[in-house]
């Protein structure tokens, strides 16, 4: 998932340093995204090369590592608007490593899969608890929280049902 546009949106809201942008992005996408904050730096480099953000070096850093302040260019603001207004009406693909492994598992993998599904169910339920959303959502941020919470709750549900089915007495043919 390219974060480039999200970084551009943050810079357009308020110019910032790489580190601050990473923190603001983490807050905005929430814990379920599992952001790697260092992904912000290559995104900024890409945006700069494309002329969508401009970097200026401030004296506030040290001489060896001056702090670089990023701001959106007019071309960046236009690209941001184009991204925000480009609808994607098609369904998102449902893809995961776990689904692939379920599809190719053999009978002897059943017990390990049941244990993995149980562990994943617990970790996903714990993440869901951290994403507790205001209901009803009152702003864009809580709207995203609510969407993520519904998605995670669905994930917990299928993990549990799949685990039950794999662990049940009725033999499953592989």
């Amino acid at each position: 998932m390219p974060l480039k546009h999200a970084v551009l949106a943050l810079v357009a809201e308020r110019r910032g340093y790489g580190y601050d942008l990473a923190q603001r992005l983490e807050q905005r996408v929430g814990p379920a995204w599992q952001l790697n904050p260092s992904a912000v730096y290559p995104a900024l480099d890409q945006l700069e090369r494309a002329g969508l953000v401009a970097a200026s070096t401030r004296a506030s850093g040290t001489r060896r590592s001056p702090r670089v302040l990023y701001a959106a260019t007019p071309a960046g603001l236009a690209a941001l608007e184009a991204w925000l207004t480009t609808a994607q009406p098609d369904p998102e693909p449902v893809r995961s490593d776990l689904l692939l492994r379920l599809a190719f598992a053999r009978a002897e993998h059943g017990a390990a899969l049941v244990a993995e599904l149980a562990a994943r169910e617990r970790s996903t339920a714990a993440l869901l608890a951290r994403c507790a959303a205001d209901e009803p959502p009152t702003d864009a941020r809580t709207l995203v929280d609510a969407a993520v919470a519904i998605r995670l709750a669905g994930e917990v549900a299928w993990l549990g049902r799949t685990r039950d089915r794999l662990a049940s007495a009725a033999p499953l043919s592989f």
Copy 2:
């Protein structure tokens, strides 16, 4: 999502030509995956370079494009087993372009987002109808179908709820 392991699993089940493998993979992962069948060819090349599959050229093709038959090597069978038995107990990240756009939308994007959510809800419901799963699942294939169906149904639910919230009379602050 790297399909490499899934292609390796198919080849291990029964050796095959690229085109046949693409068809078998599409059947196995189902329509919700939205497989690009041509993704099978770079996966086969990668597997061959890594020594996990071996290619042999058959006379059955034309001279200009001989048919290449792929089979798993012993190293490939070991790699397949390692993949099938490596559990991933952590939650999958919840990431999507639509969530990012919702997080960064401004008030003036509301009407277009409502239309996009409605379109996405329809297309996802149509995909769900194509993924109709046997209940209860009787084999690994229908177990995956059931997992995908639960996921898609959750997707339809949050799209609908998010659209309702965006379209409701109570103003949402952006």
